[in-house]
Every structure is written in structure tokens, then in C-alpha cells.
């Protein structure tokens, strides 16, 4: 294990992932400095969540290296991976809360399981973190009793419970109202600027993306078609990128099949 004292929180080299013979991620390479916010953009199904699941060690790539906080996690066993995982946290797309526990118990879970936090301290931290995401007083409800957007925010509170060095968020603001979106964005910014953590945020909300990003990556059909600072991305001439930023229906991103293809598909027998 090479624990390099690099300034990069994240370094990905030549990541390739295939499900069967379908290549879902193709030659992904990027890196991220400590204390920065990386936004990964792209349409639904382009591989954003899959990329994130590689960064947190849930999926193993077919090829490539993934250095998280200075350690190549593709070469780690379960114990080594657990060691790295204690230093980062993930907010899942749908919260991924334990349904058998209350909201408060969910947020307390990583604290209590880390083994060196007493229950009274955990209680306090739970209140603080729920306050941060605007859910004071919801401790005793079950995840099934709150809305999808609230579950996400509980997921955020749980991710922040152990004050991670690196935070991954999968679509933290989709399904939230504009005010709550701004609150979560501000929270991400505060975490990074005040506590100096590093964040990786997947989103297809462009307002939110440009509000928080230091660095942006645009994924398209499993490939990075552009990466750079927000300004570089805004001024990138790639028509697919521009269509995505402006949110237009017409453009090079193929939504519909061409007329001929459509007729061919309809009449073809599989």
C-alpha cells in the first residue's frame, strides 16, 4: 500500500467498466485537489452513479486505478477498504437509510459503530447535524414516514456525522424545492470552505452545479467529454455540453431515433 502524501484527494487513471459486453464507463481519468468541489454532470443513465460507486469501492473497475485520499482502492482487501472508508462518507441518491431505525438512529449509526463515541455525545451530534439540514425535531420518525427529499437530507446528515475528509453526494438536490436546494448547496460550500473537506457532487441541476463547483466533469455515454473550471465549461464550444447546460430539447444529444432508424426498429424482429 503506497500512502502518498499527495495534494490530491482523488486521482482516477484510465478507469474502464463493462457490465457484460456493454461498456458503461470508458477511459475515465481525472483528479481532484483537497479542499475543492468537483461536480460530475451528465444525463440520466450516462454512468454518474456507476462512477461514484467505483470511487467508494462498491464496484471494481475492469481496468484503471482509483486513488482515494492517497490509496489505490482497487488493490485493497476488505479491511484496507474499511480503513479508507472511515475517512470519507457518501450520501446516496435515495438516502439509503436503514428503514428499521428512526431518523435519529440513522444519523447516530456511524457514530456509535465507530466505537469511540458515547451515546450522549452521539445524541448531541445527531441534533446538530439534523439542524444543519433543516430537520430539527424529526429524530423519532421512521424513514417511511418522511418524504423522499427529507430522506435525502437525513442521508446528508448521516454522511456528515463523522466529519469526513471527503464527501460524495449522488444527486443531493434532485427532488428538493428551490429553497432546500440552496440550503444544501450552501451546506456543501460551508463544509468545504470552513472545514476544509473535499466534495464530489453528482448533479444534473445546472444552477446548483455552477453555484458550488471548483471543477466540473461532463459525462456523456460513459466518457468524459469535457472537464475544467466552471468558466472553462461554460465557454466550451462542444454542442452536446452547451445543449446540456442550456437544457434544450433540440441538439446533438440523441433523444429520438431518426425517422429511418425508427421505422427499422419498429419493423425489425428480434
Amino acid at each position: 500500500m503506497s500512502e502518498t502524501k499527495s495534494t490530491h484527494a482523488l486521482e482516477v487513471r484510465g478507469l474502464v467498466k463493462k457490465f457484460g459486453n456493454r461498456t458503461v464507463l470508458n477511459d475515465i481519468s481525472f483528479n481532484l485537489k483537497r479542499g475543492e468541489i468537483l461536480v460530475i454532470m451528465g444525463g440520466s443513465g450516462c454512468g454518474k452513479s456507476t462512477l461514484l460507486r467505483h470511487l467508494i469501492g462498491v464496484l471494481k473497475p475492469n481496468e484503471g486505478e482509483i486513488h482515494v485520499l492517497g490509496t489505490d482502492i482497487t488493490k485493497l482487501d476488505d479491511d484496507g477498504l474499511a480503513k479508507v472508508r472511515r475517512r470519507f462518507a457518501m450520501m446516496h441518491q435515495f438516502g439509503a437509510l436503514l428503514n428499521s431505525l428512526t431518523v435519529g438512529q440513522n444519523v447516530a449509526l456511524p457514530l456509535l459503530e465507530s466505537g469511540n463515541v458515547s451515546e450522549s455525545i452521539a445524541d448531541l451530534v445527531v441534533k446538530l447535524k439534523l439542524e444543519l439540514v433543516g430537520l430539527t425535531g424529526f429524530e423519532h420518525l421512521k424513514p417511511s414516514e418522511i418524504s423522499g427529499g427529507m430522506r435525502k437530507r437525513v442521508g446528508m446528515a448521516r454522511a456528515l456525522a463523522l466529519d469526513p475528509e471527503l464527501l460524495f453526494c449522488d444527486e443531493p438536490t434532485s427532488g428538493l424545492d428551490p429553497v432546500m436546494t440552496a440550503v444544501i448547496d450552501q451546506l456543501t460550500l460551508d463544509m468545504v470552505h470552513k472545514l476544509g473537506i473535499t466534495a464530489v457532487v453528482v448533479t444534473h441541476d445546472m444552477t446548483s452545479a455552477f453555484r458550488i463547483a471548483n471543477k466540473m466533469i461532463m459525462l456523456f455515454e460513459g466518457q468524459i467529454i469535457a472537464q475544467g473550471s466552471p468558466d472553462e465549461i461554460r465557454n466550451n464550444p462542444d454542442p452536446r455540453l452547451q445543449q446540456f447546460i442550456k437544457g434544450e430539447a433540440d441538439g446533438p444529444i440523441p433523444l429520438k431515433l431518426s425517422r429511418d432508424d425508427y421505422i427499422k426498429r419498429l419493423l425489425s424482429v428480434d
Binding site: I56, G57, V58, D78, A82, K83, R85, R86, A89, M90, H92, F94, A96, L97, L98, N99, L109, P110, E113, G115
Partner: protein
């Protein structure tokens, strides 16, 4: 599935080993919660099922034994069969249907809703957190349930013997006690302990291996019940051979 089963079982043992050697903690409270789930809550069903089996055993044997003019031997037969075989068997069948299936469905649903993945990402070992408490609860509670089930089964036999066969209540009990020795009780309970381990480990494996959403949960729950039943009956044959046939 056999590979997944072996690997999960080994991981569970490793996890218990780590807890015993003090390198991690056992989730004692969660284990008690599961003991209530799989054990205490199964008690009414197990009790009733065994009571019925006791009645049935007494009725079936009464006819046969009456022809030999030995109706009083109903007591021998009921206690003998109940302790050695019927008690552990009926208890296991009830627990498989009630608790084995629910363990698979619960873990499977957690798998599908990414809860297990979330645990792993929080560096919480799902085997230690979810599997070990369920497995331990099964192993501890099966013998407890079985012994209570057996008591009710014997009671069922006694009820029928005293009421319908006009046997002497006290003589029935004396005969029952004379018909069996401690080995019958021990081997029955040992069987139930092994059954508990099989049910717990198989149900957890099928739960953790769920793929493809809700459909997968349903599919694996069915498979889990079928596998538990077959494994339990197969193990019953093996253990019976070892205890009573080969020796």
C-alpha cells in the same frame, strides 16, 4: 449459491471469533431483538403445532396398540417420538416458515434498497451488523422453542390418553418418563441447534444474495424456504443415522 453460503458462513464465524477475542464487539442488544423476533414471537405457533402433533401421535398409535392390547403404551410411543424426532422437526418447520422466510425477505429488501451497500460504505460490516445477530438468535432460540414445543406435544398426548383412552393420568406420566432416557432429549435438542444454524445461515445467504429488485426478494424467499426444508430434513437423516442407527 453454495459458494456464497460457504463464504458468508465463514465470514460469520470470523466475525464471531473477532468479537470473542475482543477485536470487535458483538451486537448483544440486536441479538436479543432477533431472539424475540425469531423465538418468542414463534412460540404460540410452535406450541400449537406441537400440541396438535401430540394429539395426532396419540390417536394414530392408539388404534395400532389397542389391537395388541397395549393401549397404555401410547405414552411410551408419544414421548419417544416427540423427543427424538417430532418436536425438533415440527419446530424447525414452523420456524422456517415464519422466521427463515422473514429473515430472507428483510435482508433482501435491505439489499435492494441499497441499505447494505450503505453500511459497507460506512465501514460497518454487514455480516457483523446483520447476519451474526440473526444467526446467533436462531442457534440459541431453536433448542428453547423445541423444548417448549416438546412439552406441549407430550401434554397433547397425555390429554388424549387420559380423556379418550381412559388411561390413568399419573401412570401415563410415569410410563412416559420410563420410556425415554436423557439421551433422547439431548440428541433432539442437539438436532434443533443444528437446524437453527442451518436455517439462520441459509436464510441470511439467500437474503444477502438478492438481485433484481422486488421480484428477486420474492424469488429468493421461496428458494430460501425450500432450501431450508431440504437441508433440515437431510441433516435430520444424517444425525439420526449417527445417533441411533450406526451406533
Amino acid at each position: 449459491m453454495l459458494l456464497a453460503y460457504t463464504s458468508l458462513t465463514l465470514r460469520a464465524f470470523a466475525s464471531i471469533g473477532r468479537s470473542l477475542s475482543g477485536r470487535s464487539t458483538l451486537r448483544v442488544h440486536a441479538t436479543f431483538v432477533q431472539m424475540v423476533n425469531v423465538g418468542v414471537n414463534s412460540l404460540p405457533t410452535v406450541g400449537l403445532a406441537c400440541l396438535f402433533m401430540g394429539l395426532v401421535l396419540a390417536m394414530q398409535s392408539a388404534g395400532q396398540l389397542a389391537q395388541l392390547g397395549a393401549t397404555e403404551r401410547v405414552a411410551d410411543l408419544v414421548s419417544f417420538a416427540m423427543l427424538r424426532e417430532i418436536g425438533p422437526l415440527i419446530t424447525a418447520v414452523v420456524v422456517i416458515g415464519r422466521s427463515g422466510s422473514s429473515i430472507t425477505a428483510e435482508l433482501g429488501t435491505m439489499k435492494v434498497s441499497e441499505e447494505i451497500e450503505a453500511l459497507e460504505v460506512m465501514a460497518i460490516d454487514p455480516v457483523r451488523y446483520l447476519v451474526v445477530p440473526r444467526l446467533l438468535a436462531m442457534v440459541i432460540m431453536m433448542p428453547c422453542l423445541t423444548i417448549i414445543g416438546e412439552a406441549l406435544g407430550l401434554f397433547g398426548g397425555w390429554l388424549l390418553g387420559v380423556n379418550s383412552l381412559s388411561l390413568d393420568p399419573l401412570l401415563y406420566i410415569t410410563r412416559s418418563l420410563q420410556a425415554v432416557d436423557l439421551k433422547d432429549l439431548y440428541t433432539g435438542l442437539f438436532k434443533s441447534l443444528v437446524f437453527g444454524f442451518l436455517i439462520g445461515s441459509i436464510a441470511c445467504t439467500y437474503g444477502m444474495e438478492v438481485r433484481d429488485g422486488a421480484e428477486g426478494v420474492g424469488r429468493n424467499t421461496t428458494r430460501s424456504v425450500v432450501s431450508c426444508l431440504l437441508a433440515m430434513l437431510g441433516m435430520d437423516a444424517i444425525l439420526t443415522a449417527i445417533f441411533f442407527f450406526a451406533t
